[in-house]
């Protein structure tokens, strides 16, 4: 269908909804012939109902940072952008819960909560662009999940618009709740394939009273030593909120030191943070170097780390291929994964930045180079990871590469349950076509 025709049709249906001509030549795909910017839940519901009844496909986005994450379609009929659907719905300071519209930018939400010395304990990528809805729908997390958990530990309730336009609440507004199935979980990480999340209720934590970041670099690049140091550290009484291993290249970018570096974060009352730093000094191997960041330096470090993944919203200036993968393995296998990722640089002539959490097992690896090399390196890395019984998901790839590399890897044996869930909720396959595991 012609863009103009599609546009006029939609405009006639929804005269009150802001809309624009879509962009059809996006190298990341996941766009729409027409971009619509609903400002209310009713509008979102009406648009989905219309699409569902008229055989239209819908692509959903917050602010577009994850346009390169999954999906085999260049252009759906309609792109629903939630970027105008934003704001705090309810914040009960004493209950430490907040309800927020899904298009709210993550950093804005944190800024609002900071006034009350509270926070959502998530540290996703691109907090200045990413919406809370996108963070939840893609289950994005950062190094601090070691201390605070991930989206599934923070979300206590959702409002979701189903493809037929019905509005379904899952969970509730209280921090403990086992009434009915925990259907919140279905939507976290579902990549917008079974509903549009419109409101999110989150459990909050008090802002830490003190924070510090210890950068421990290992000039000998002795991975056995790093491994056994981490085992001792995890077995000690200290409670780091992050324990992230950086490959030398990433460390160079972030700290200036081109060595394997461990990022050990502490957040607690001041006396406890100081005490733990001292313990860390006692435990650290002799030849490792310790550099402690505080205040501005610390914040700048976290900010830079959270912005290392390519951002689908900002058009890449590089003429090389950028990619980013998420890897899950057992906690301590992270050391090997970071090492293997680092080796890809020489084998495939790439620039590779890699980091992974030794207490939680999730790694993120960025690759930059020629398209064929990037593709080969990802396949190689997937083989390595699978030999550790882990998985690899491509978090950012061009549409062209997504047609060559399976973003999600092989289907699990219980794939029929995923299909069953999708069919029950979105039988007409309206939402985010083929954006998820096994072409769901």
């Amino acid at each position: 269908m012609l863009v103009e025709e599609a546009f006029l049709q939609l405009q006639e249906q929804f005269p009150d909804v802001e809309m624009k001509y879509g962009k059809t030549d996006n190298y990341l795909g996941n766009s729409g012939l027409v971009r619509v910017y609903p400002s209310s839940e009713q509008q979102i519901s009406a648009i989905l109902k219309y699409a569902n009844e008229n055989g239209k496909t819908v692509s959903v986005e917050g602010n577009g940072t994850k346009r390169g994450f999954g999906g085999l379609t260049e252009t759906a009929d309609i792109l629903v952008s939630l970027s105008r659907y934003k704001g705090i719905v309810e914040h009960t300071v004493g209950d430490m819960t907040v309800t927020v519209k899904s298009g709210t930018v993550f950093r804005e939400l944190q800024g609002f909560l900071a006034k009350y010395n509270q926070q959502v304990s998530l540290d996703p990528s691109w907090p200045e662009d990413a919406t809370i809805g996108g963070v939840i729908a893609s289950n994005d997390s950062g190094p601090k999940r070691l201390g605070y958990g991930s989206a599934r530990d923070a979300v206590i309730g959702l409002r979701v618009v189903y493809p037929d336009g019905s509005i379904i609440r899952t969970g509730g507004k209280v921090v403990k709740n086992v009434a009915g199935y925990d259907t919140n979980k279905l939507f976290i990480g579902s990549m917008g394939t079974i509903g549009i999340i419109t409101e999110i209720t989150l459990k909050l934590r008090p802002s830490p009273k003190a924070e510090s970041l210890s950068l421990l670099s290992f000039p000998d690049a002795n991975l056995k030593e790093i491994h056994s140091f981490v085992v001792d550290l995890l077995d000690s009484m200290i409670e780091p909120i992050s324990l992230e291993l950086l490959n030398p290249k990433l460390s160079k970018n972030l700290t200036g030191t081109e060595q394997y570096t461990l990022v050990v974060g502490f957040e607690d009352v001041k006396s406890s943070v100081d005490y733990q730093i001292n313990k860390l000094k006692d435990l650290k191997p002799q030849n490792s170097e310790l550099n402690i960041l505080q205040d501005e330096e610390l914040r700048a470090f976290w900010d830079r780390l959270s912005c290392m993944i390519p951002n689908g919203k900002r058009v890449s200036s590089s003429n090389q291929t950028e990619a980013c993968v998420k890897i899950g393995v057992k906690n301590l296998d992270v050391v090997q994964v970071i090492r293997e990722s680092d080796l890809l640089q020489d084998s495939f002539n790439l620039k590779v930045s890699a980091h992974g959490g030794l207490g939680h097992g999730i790694c993120q690896v960025n690759l930059l180079g020629a398209q064929e090399d990037v593709a080969l390196a990802i396949s190689r890395l997937r083989e390595v990871v699978e030999s550790y019984h882990g998985y690899l998901i491509a978090k950012h790839l061009s549409l062209a590469l997504r047609h060559k590399i399976d973003v999600w890897g092989d289907k699990p044996t219980y794939f029929f349950l995923f299909e069953g869930i999708k069919k029950k909720i979105d039988p007409n396959r309206v939402l985010n076509e083929k954006r998820f595991v096994g072409g769901i």
Binding site: G94, S166, G172, V174, K185, M237, Y391, G409, T413
Partner: protein, 483 residues
């Protein structure tokens, strides 16, 4: 095989599947012990009880039941408080108590693998010498099973800081209602690609599948713990102290409250600690973590209590004293037996800030129904346990107790809370689901059940209200009518 005293062909077949002596019960006198769980108000006899020893036997039993249209359900220790393990439809009960091995412990990667019948507290006991523990600690932990905990998404006193069962489950092996065995994240690696099946199975009250193996997260023991006991002359002062502690930015490991009637009961029961009888409320507060920060937080807590007119406040002097305080608290439900012939445990959740208001309204309900209601609860996360005291021998009392319990849940729902925080819906709260969910929302959930359990032979008639007037759920035709 011993000769069976029955002609029932299904029982004979089942006896062939679960080999070994004492692997099946089918005589009425043996089945009586299985006609209810910790929710004793509804009773129904099962068809049989089978005791499989491994996953393959579970799968074979399930396949047989599915093929022969026999309803079935799983049972752990039977301590559930909402009736989840009651065989409403004369189910074949699949008891998992024989599958009780600790399969492996990996302290480096902080995980352990257990069979479903493994008792909760045994896990902590098995790894404490290495300095590790399993965080979710329901008061029934000395006997309830981890399989049952997964099914109910059990909580406990220390879940305020560490989260409930779902936050500690890393992998599951499940026998689906058609007998197929699936393994989800068996290596315990988080965020497996796809919809979060671990999340949906945990807390599904045994209606989506039978859990046969569980990978859990284990935690390092905190370096230090301190425990405070505070006595208040006014409930409102105690409630405000709860809010103040949280507002001070402290995340206590536990923050528990008991009111006057509860105190009367625990002092009359097996583990008295000498609480004054004339106080209106007590708080039991625990802070843990690295040793350096603890004193500071304890001092802040003591200050808050003083500001809120505490009559007396003390810090446990040693592990024995701390242990006594916790034994007194954790046996609180059973303690009701010391002051009342029967009691009904309720379980609702409210936004913490509504505590004073809700406790007042529960008081009114007590007066209205003429039944005493004790309150023992996880104040830190707003999870109330009103305990309605009654005498089942008095005509009408049971019914009154049920109604009073339901009225308490209505109050929780009305202030924006939930009808259950940890005990589940089961049979008990099916109808109360309507307090918080619309018909459409309930259907969205039964749709999920249909994906896993399309024939609804597994634990039917639980969790969801009997279909209402206008909404017809066709798969629910064999939903039994519970009186």
């Amino acid at each position: 095989m011993p000769k069976l005293k029955t002609k029932d062909k299904h029982i004979k077949k089942l006896a062939e599947i679960v080999k070994g002596p004492n692997s099946i019960l089918y005589l009425k006198e043996d089945l009586l012990a299985y006609d209810c769980d910790g929710f004793t108000i509804h009773k129904h006899l099962p068809k049989a009880v089978v005791f499989p020893k491994d996953t393959e036997e579970v799968a074979a039993i399930v396949k047989y039941c599915d093929a022969n249209n026999l309803p079935f359900l799983a049972r752990g220790a039977g301590t559930g408080l909402s009736g989840g393990a009651i065989p409403l439809n004369g189910e074949v009960i699949i008891s998992l108590v024989r599958m009780k091995r600790l399969i492996s412990v990996d302290t480096e990667n902080r995980r352990a693998v257990v069979e479903p019948g493994f008792v909760n507290l045994k896990l902590t006991n098995s790894i404490s010498d290495r300095g590790y523990y399993y965080a979710p600690d329901p008061s029934s932990q000395y006997c309830c099973t981890i399989g049952g905990n997964v099914a109910e998404n059990a909580g406990g006193a220390h879940c305020l800081k560490y989260g409930v069962t779902t936050n500690h489950i890393l992998g599951l092996e499940v026998v689906l209602p058609n007998g197929e065995i699936i393994e989800i994240s068996s290596d315990g690696i988080p965020d497996a690609p796809g919809y979060d099946l671990l999340g949906i199975l945990t807390g599904s009250e045994g209606t989506l599948g039978i859990v046969t193996k569980i990978t859990v997260r284990i935690l390092k023991n905190p370096e230090e713990k301190q425990t405070v006991l505070a006595y208040f002359d006014k409930v409102s002062d105690g409630s405000h102290a709860v809010s103040d502690i949280i507002s001070a930015g402290i995340v206590p490991a536990a923050l528990e409250m008991m009111d006057k009637i509860a105190i009367e009961a625990v002092e009359a029961a097996a583990f008295p600690v000498g609480h004054p009888k004339d106080i209106e409320a007590l708080l039991l507060i625990e802070v843990d973590g690295v040793s350096a920060g603890i004193d500071e937080q304890i001092n802040q807590i003591l200050e808050v209590c003083k500001r809120r007119n505490v009559r007396e406040v003390k810090v446990a002097q040693d592990e024995q004293e701390r242990g006594r305080w916790w034994a007194n608290r954790k046996t609180g439900f059973g303690a009701m037996g010391a002051i009342s012939p029967d009691y009904l445990v309720q379980d609702g959740v409210i936004p913490r800030s509504k505590l004073p208001e809700v406790l007042g309204r529960i008081n009114q309900i007590s007066e209205e129904f003429g039944l005493r209601i004790a309150n023992i609860f996880h104040a830190g996360d707003g999870n109330l346990h009103p305990l309605v005291l009654f005498d089942a021998k008095k005509p009408g009392d049971t019914d009154k107790a049920l109604k009073a319990g339901s009225a308490c849940l209505k109050v929780c729902a009305d202030v924006g809370g939930s009808i259950t925080g940890e005990h589940g819906v089961g049979i008990e709260k099916k109808e109360e689901m309507r307090f918080i969910f619309s018909d459409e929302e309930i259907m969205a959930q039964t749709n999920v059940r249909e994906v896993f359990n399309p024939n609804n032979l597994l634990n039917a008639g639980k969790l969801f209200p009997t279909p209402g007037r206008c909404i017809e759920m066709k798969s629910d035709v064999n939903e039994p009518l519970s009186s």
